[in-house]
């Protein structure tokens, strides 16, 4: 493995930057994601930072079932992200469509459109669950890097 690749991997493990995109959620998971980033839960202690543009981020955090309107937008955002990239689906709707499964304007979860690395269920996923999911994802990334 080249030095540059090692550096990229080290930095994305120590400080993964995330982008939050609401793909048609009811806001509940979104406020829990923000709650996870604010002082009580403080996701930033794992180096996680919320960023504004897909071109700067390692992890795309999606909440909500994919509506037909957001489906091609989320693909465009995913394509704009630099490699290596991961997607986290937060909430029951993002994992499977949840309560909205079967609605005429809703697809079945994020993985029907883009590949997903981690699923965090819950309606809404609590900040504790979000932290647990993100930490497990980071750990699996670390193990994958060690084995390669």
């Amino acid at each position: 493995m080249g030095f540059l690749k090692k550096l990229v991997n080290w930095s994305r493990l120590k400080s993964p930057w995330i982008l939050h995109f609401n793909t048609g959620a009811c806001n509940a998971c979104d406020i829990e994601i923000i709650a996870a980033l604010t002082p009580r839960y403080d996701l930033e202690r794992f180096g996680v930072q919320l960023k504004g543009t897909p071109r700067h981020v390692d992890i795309l955090v999606c909440s909500g079932p994919i509506t037909r309107q957001t489906a091609d937008r989320v693909i465009r955002i995913y394509e704009q992200m630099p490699e290596p990239k991961l997607v986290v689906a937060i909430g029951s709707c993002a994992t499977s469509g949840g309560i909205f499964d079967g609605c005429y304007n809703v697809e079945h979860g994020i993985d029907s459109v883009i590949p997903v690395a981690a699923y965090i269920p819950g309606c809404p996923a609590s900040p504790k669950a979000i932290i647990d999911g993100i930490v497990k994802l980071l750990k699996s990334m670390e193990e994958k890097e060690k084995s390669s």
Partner: protein, 407 residues
């Protein structure tokens, strides 16, 4: 002279927490024209409601919006209870009021943080969201979930409140009141906050009435319109509280109104837990609701939430219609943005506390000119008169209200 420049903002944009798209026509730094495009969050809830039973709908309706979920589920439950002719037990009405006000506290604290974030005052975001966790703990304790409480059922509520919980709520209210007093002081002395918010997003009383704005956005322009006072539901008829208004007409006024409403909410919650009546928390409602229709209003943290339910005697409704407060307010955003600077755009949008997942309903007009139907466009004035007539038939008199809003 240079041509206007078109800038699209959204659906993914750092200033927007939800997908919505704004198209701004700029001349230099000034916004000449703004148009809003909605519909990214449209999931088809109203249609889905027709395919499910009333009990299932209650949970689906709750997930229209996660921030004011109690507002939606209560409004829907009230409409169904009205059709079924159910008398809500008093204790249930008080618990609904309690959860509604706790929700208002969490929503207004959330707004204050988001507003701070939009003007680059991230310290305020971290402060308010840390304080918001106090009320989130109480909500989790009382209802069992932090968001999407699921406390309503048709004919009452699902969980009772124990004396131990009452003590915890009283303690939390004291802690939150102290913090809110600090924010009120901050809003009155902090020059950066005052200078950044004053004179931005100005909307006069006349414009508020013309554009049909609701909630704190309207109350910040001196329109004392509040469903809790005008058409009391749940336990509000038995509670003393003031409708907070302000005459700044701008975003600073909206901040003051929301902070004032926080203080009123503490006051309401103290009265609720003090006068909590004994008795059952729910009555049984039949699975099949008799045919009929009802309109229910609820003062959500963002303004008046309106639900219409039409029942046809089966287990599921024939039609459910939701008019969320943001739909009433979104027109005013385009108005407030015009002739303002581009840098004001995030805070002007955030100032109405937009909730696009509430707003994204859709209407399809079929066969307007089809067989046997005559196309008829109802103008605003005749629609207004029809509304007054319809309500007076129901025994509600609006003349008292009209006197208050004399233009």
């Amino acid at each position: 002279m240079h041509d206007n420049m078109e800038i699209p903002v959204g659906p993914q944009h750092p200033a927007l927490k939800e997908p919505a798209s704004f198209r701004l026509s700029l001349s230099g730094e000034k916004i000449m024209q703004a148009s809003v495009r909605l519909g990214y969050n449209h999931r088809g809830i109203e249609k889905a409601c027709e395919e499910r039973t009333y009990i299932q709908d209650l949970y689906l309706i709750e997930r229209i919006c996660g921030i004011c979920s109690h507002a939606h589920s209560t409004a829907f439950a009230q409409a169904v209870e009205e059709i079924a002719g159910v008398n809500l037990p008093k204790r249930a009405a008080y618990i609904r009021t309690l959860v509604g006000e706790l929700e208002r506290i969490h929503s207004h604290l959330l707004w204050l943080g988001v507003a701070g974030h939009e003007i680059g005052f991230d310290t305020l975001l971290m402060y308010t969201w840390a304080d918001r966790e106090i009320v989130m703990d109480i909500l989790a304790n009382v209802t069992g979930n932090r968001v999407n409480y699921g406390i309503n059922s048709l004919g009452g509520v699902r969980r009772d409140i124990s004396p131990e919980q009452v003590r915890q709520i009283a303690k939390a209210m004291d802690a939150l009141e102290e913090r809110t007093k600090y924010y009120i002081e901050l809003a009155s002395v902090e020059t950066t906050l005052i200078n950044r918010l004053s004179g931005v997003g100005v909307m006069s009383k006349k414009d508020v009435l013309r554009l049909g704005t609701v909630g704190p956005t309207a109350r910040a322009s001196g329109v004392a319109r509040d469903v809790r006072k005008d058409d009391p539901y749940a336990a509000y008829a038995e509670i003393n509280f003031n409708v907070v208004t302000d005459n700044h007409n701008d975003i600073y006024g909206r901040t003051i109104v929301r902070l004032g409403e926080l203080m009123e909410s503490f006051n309401i919650i103290r009265q609720v837990i003090k006068n909590l009546p004994d008795g059952p928390i729910a009555v049984k409602v039949a699975r099949k609701i008799p045919s009929g229709e009802a309109v229910s209003r609820y003062e959500a943290p963002r303004g008046e939430d309106l639900h219409y339910v039409k029942a046809n005697g089966t287990e599921s409704p024939e039609r459910v219609k939701v008019r969320a407060p943001t739909l009433a307010n979104i027109q005013s955003v385009a108005f407030m943005l015009e002739d303002r600077y581009l840098a004001d755009m995030p805070i002007v949008v955030a100032a109405i506390d937009p909730c696009f997942s509430c707003t994204d309903r859709s209407i399809a007009i079929k066969d307007a000119e089809g067989k046997g139907k005559k196309k008829k466009i109802v103008d605003w004035e005749s629609l207004r008169l029809h509304g007054i007539e319809w309500y007076s038939k129901q025994g509600i008199d609006f003349t008292a209200l009209n006197k208050r809003f004399k233009r």
